[in-house]
């Protein structure tokens, strides 16, 4: 039983780290644009397909396919923002969220028309799992974990050291003051959408590497992404990472106790508990 628990925790940390990538995209968009972009799941799927095309059609290695996933999903995110969300900006965050949900459905069905409903797999070598005592870790699982960590490190460096990244943090913190210091919030919003959607795309590809790619690859993640962002505190970058790892572990642990079909319930339960006991989440301040 102890071994099963530890194995679930290892799997949970890896799954949570991968989940953190799109959760970071979701929370970055929320922090700067002040609305929850529910197209994030479909954007993750766009990234998964872009990476898959890069890998299987153009023969790109994973390190080459990831930037492609970022770029294509980033552009799709920009299209969602410009065509569906921005025209409803004056109507408030709820309308923007609903518009993003609708745009996500459109994107999902465009992919369905283009690629069909079949499961697609990356061209990866078949490798045996590594055994460390009683525990098993797949080399691909570990590579995905490393890629997810690299994505997060790049995002951290971008936000910490680049002028645009600092401007994004400034707008997320205090939009009016950022405006008074010469930041163009419209430009920052566009960059944020591209970065946020791009992160979702990379997250979708990493999930596709771990499982397979189909039109619902990202959509299945939406609840977990939202739960991770709510748990960490909507708009909080460290919160999104902590929340995603916690959700990843909780989902894996739930499988030990409950039927795997109930795995999704974890997200709902976490959202319910957080909104009841600490609406601001672990690291957030906005909802309090």
């Amino acid at each position: 039983m102890i071994e099963a628990l530890l194995q679930a925790l290892i799997n949970g940390v890896i799954a949570g780290t991968i989940l953190a990538v799109p959760a970071l995209g979701f929370t970055a968009i929320f922090a700067v644009l002040n609305y929850p972009n529910f197209a994030i799941g479909a954007l993750a799927t766009v990234g998964a397909y872009a990476g898959w095309v890069g890998n299987t059609v153009f023969g790109l290695p994973m390190l080459g396919a990831l930037p492609l996933a970022f770029g294509v999903a980033g552009l799709a995110g920009l299209a969602v923002q410009s065509l569906a969300v921005k025209p409803l900006e004056a109507s408030g965050a709820l309308m923007m969220a609903i518009a993003s949900l609708a745009a996500g459905l459109v994107l999902e069905n465009i992919l369905r028309f283009g690629f069909g409903n079949d499961l697609r797999g990356f061209e990866l070598p078949l490798l045996r799992d590594w055994r460390i005592g009683e525990f098993r870790i797949g080399p691909q699982q570990l590579e995905n974990f490393g890629l997810a960590l690299a994505c997060m490190a790049l995002l951290w460096a971008f936000l910490r050291f680049s002028r645009t990244g600092r401007a994004m943090r400034a707008v997320a913190d205090n939009r009016d003051l950022a405006l008074l210091r010469g930041v163009d919030p419209v430009r920052v919003a566009l960059v944020t959408v591209i970065v946020g959607a791009g992160l979702a795309g990379m997250g979708g590809m990493l999930v596709g590497l771990d499982t397979s790619v189909d039109p619902l690859t990202g959509t299945r993640l939406v609840l977990s992404i939202f739960a991770a962002a709510v748990l960490g505190g909507l708009g909080s970058i460290p919160g999104a990472v902590a929340g995603a790892i916690a959700i990843g572990m909780a989902e894996e642990l739930s499988v030990i106790v409950f039927n795997p079909a109930y795995r999704l319930v974890v997200g709902f339960v976490v959202i319910l508990i957080v909104l009841t006991l600490r609406p601001a989440g672990l690291f957030g301040t906005r909802a309090s």
């Binding site: 002028r163 600092r166 401007a167 943090r169 400034a170 997320a172 913190d173 205090n174 009016d176 003051l177 950022a178 405006l179 008074l180 210091r181 010469g182 930041v183 163009d184």
Partner: protein, 252 residues
Amino acid sequence: MTALTVQELTGGYAAADHVVKGVSFTVASGELVCVIGPNGAGKSTVLKLLTGLLRPRAGQVALDGRDITGQSPRVVIEAGMVLVPQERNVFGTLSVEENLAMGCFLDPGRAKARMTAVMDRFPLLAERRRQAARTMSGGQRQILAMGQALMSEPRVLLLDEPTAGLSPKAATDLFALVRATAETGVAVLMVEQNALQAMQISDRALVLVDGRNAHEGPAPALARDPAIRRLFLGGRGEGRMDATGTNRETSP
């Protein structure tokens, strides 16, 4: 030399709602002018109209003779005028160093040199350079806000109630910093509720009532004016005044 010239400035938050109704004044380089008046007189709105946060409906704003009426905040900063807002005037999640860098956002090439100069002037900021702004006290945050505004070497500094929420000691210290800033040659326009103390450190005072110029003149003279004391400082003639000079309503 006149740095800021404002003529017949009119505007507000909605097209038909003019909070500010034809305000005019000037501020010279190295001069400290305080703007006082009752709540709702339009003091903070004047600052928003000057800096592009609100668009004036009429009037003219000139900086060193250059017309900047209705320009965006970016153009206003580039022209040399910076506002320190009353509330939320630092980026709480950013470090002191990052906050200062944001003050030089439009001219990043000079950020390093300017940061050294600002930290030399406010040693507290150097000591806390890596500290998140939200963890600082109210007085320390005001100093950071001032430092951030001075990063761009403005010719005109606008301060919106810089002592709001500060202890009397912190307010006195901050007023001394404001005075010292003016003496470096910067034109300072300060909106303040702490009217008596503000007038004690200012060269001139402008009293706004209902969005219009009501009184204007040398600050010490206005501070002694029984009418001003009665109307805005809560005193009756020369008599009543509390120690801090806080603006209090007088019972009828």
